[in-house]
Amino acid sequence: MKNTIIKTKNLHKTYQETKVPVHALRGVDLEIKKGEFTAIVGPSGSGKSTLLNIIGGLDNPSEGSIEVSGIDITSLSASQLIDFRKKNIGFVFQSYNLIPVLTALENVEFIMLLQKRDKEQRRKRAVDLLKAVGLGDKIHNRPNELSGGQQQRVAVARALASKPSFVLADEPTANLDSTSTANLLDIMENLNREENMTFVFSTHDQRVIDRAHRIINLEDGLISEDKIVKKNQPLSR
């Protein structure tokens, strides 16, 4: 299907780092379509971080296949993978997302710089994105001059900067208070609605789960539940 963005088949992941092998994923089949606002939930050790890492091209599955935007990413070389990530995936991590020595604006610009976009275009989009996440007045602040919530909003802005196919967020609210969490979710939902941006996030934060449109429950490396709770409401143009 044309608007399928992520498609996994029979994903297995076994860690051999310790003496006892750990089966983090044991056969995950998943399909995520454009414009979805999906939460992957589950207790610690359920495999949700592993699944996210594999979807993000940061880790390889032990078995099974994964296609992102129709490309089998397990077949890419390390260097191709970096380029692929740069162009197609926006990342938001739990914390320490930003380069500490760069300002908010520079952090957002940075990824476009890696894509060698020209300066004016870069600057304009970065400012626009920071305005969109409500930080128009803080573009010249360094990360340590921003609150945790503000930092995560910069991270979201950065994730969107490269116009990715989807944004992958790994427990983005783990270190945030309620207000900041609500704020961040508002922004993400807005972007989802207005720009039809696809979001996939892992979380065990009930506040986030309540806002998700689709909830995928992971347990012991398998999908135990997959339900659509809200219809997407793409803005009609």
Partner: protein, 407 residues
């Protein structure tokens, strides 16, 4: 690239203390290396220049075979045309004519072996400032039976200004040489060897003494700079008959001193390199700490699409930055000290003077200000940075974002 430089600089600034501690170690090594090399090079340079300007000159031209035995039978005509040829060479600025041989000098019932050199008084004075070296009496007048002698010789033979010295030697083609000279001046020539045995007399007198009319043992040449003698030597080799004449640079004239200098310099270089090696290990430790501390940050950067090459460039630039700060700071601290010892050389006490005498060195500690010494440290630090960067090169390549962020 500009972004990488900006990132590197800001990272250095962000962890000021670490940057400073590490840069301080480089500074320490650079300072020490510069100070030590400058003083060592300066002391040698001083000795060498003293020697060359006093007597040896930068280049000498003799009758072929003269230098090997310094035989009084291998002499050359004192021809003005020949001298002009020598002066015409690129770089050449002074030519001194000299006739010399060993002799036995007697006075006051004492006898000593000496070196009697006939010189053109005015010419020799412009060459080595003999007049300024006089500590008693006056300088030579041409065509008179006068002599200027070294201060140690004057002491051991109890010869004062006004006394007469009798000399005997072997003259040209087996002639017996006998002469007598009135002492007009006593000089401190700087080098002990000269003070002990040097007797200067006017060239014409020496030619008469050695029965070598209008003959010379050597043409002594200085060039405008000691660094450019090769060109001049080459010119002579092209323009003089090398079957009849030998052309020797100071390196060939005093080879063992040059070699002693290079041994001395080589041994201190080894010490300096070991010092840099130790400092290098310290920096490697810092780099490892830095990589570990920023593992998460690097993981994120790699995850969002920064290639390891760029990460490496950034880290390598940071190490280089530390190196540059260290070298520059070390140079800045070293410069005034080197300058001070250049302007105010330390004369060593009598006790040390004797030791230096054994090595034919002037007992003077003097620094030289040579930009090459500073460049050299830059090069050494650069190479050190290059080596240290091997570690981040591999560790950043190996760095897996997932593992890095699991900290």
């Amino acid at each position: 690239m500009i972004t990488v430089i900006k990132l590197a600089l800001r990272n250095l600034w962000r962890n000021k203390r670490r940057t400073l501690i590490t840069a301080a170690s480089v500074m320490f090594a650079a300072f020490f290396a510069i100070a030590m090399s400058s003083i060592q090079k300066g002391t040698w340079f001083n000795t060498l220049e003293g020697m060359l300007h006093n007597y040896t000159g930068y280049i000498q031209v003799h009758q072929k075979g003269y230098w090997e035995n310094q035989s009084i039978d291998l002499l050359m005509d004192n021809s003005p045309a020949f001298k002009d040829t020598l002066l015409n060479a690129p770089g050449a600025n002074k030519v001194l004519t000299r006739l010399e041989n060993f002799a036995l000098a007697s006075a006051n019932n004492k006898t000593k072996g000496v070196l009697i050199a006939g010189i053109d008084p005015a010419q020799a004075n412009s060459f080595s400032n003999i007049e300024d070296q006089l500590i008693e009496g006056r300088y030579l007048t041409p065509d008179k039976s006068e002599a200027v002698i070294g201060k140690d010789l004057s002491k051991t033979m109890q010869l004062n200004v006004g006394d007469t010295l009798v000399a005997i030697s072997q003259g040209y083609r087996g002639n017996n040489a006998v002469g007598q000279y009135r002492i007009t001046g006593i000089a401190d020539f700087g080098t002990p060897e000269f003070n002990k045995q040097m007797v200067y007399i006017p060239l014409a007198e020496a030619q008469y003494f050695y029965a070598a009319e209008n003959l010379l043992s050597s043409f002594v040449i200085t060039t405008s700079s000691i660094d450019h003698i090769d060109e001049t030597v080459q010119y002579y080799k092209n323009h003089l008959d090398t079957n009849q004449y030998e052309i020797m640079s100071y390196e060939e004239l005093i080879p063992s001193i040059i070699e002693a200098q290079s041994i001395d310099e080589a041994s201190s270089k080894i010490i300096l390199y070991i010092l840099y090696l130790l400092i290098g290990f310290g920096i490697l430790g810092t780099v490892m700490m830095m990589l570990k501390e920023r593992q998460y940050e690097f993981g994120v950067l790699k995850a969002i699409g920064m290639k390891s090459r760029m990460l490496f460039q950034m880290v390598a630039l940071e190490i280089l930055g530390i190196g540059i700060i260290g070298v520059v700071a070390g140079s800045i601290i070293a410069l005034p000290i080197v300058t001070y010892f250049n302007k105010n050389p330390i004369a060593l006490g009598d006790k040390y003077a004797e030791t230096y005498e054994q090595f034919n060195m002037e007992p003077l500690i003097k620094a030289i200000i040579d930009p090459r010494i500073f460049y050299e440290q830059v090069v050494v630090v650069f190479v050190m940075v290059l080596f240290i960067s091997i570690y981040p090169l591999f560790s950043l390549k190996k760095l897996k974002p997932v593992a890095a962020m699991r900290v």
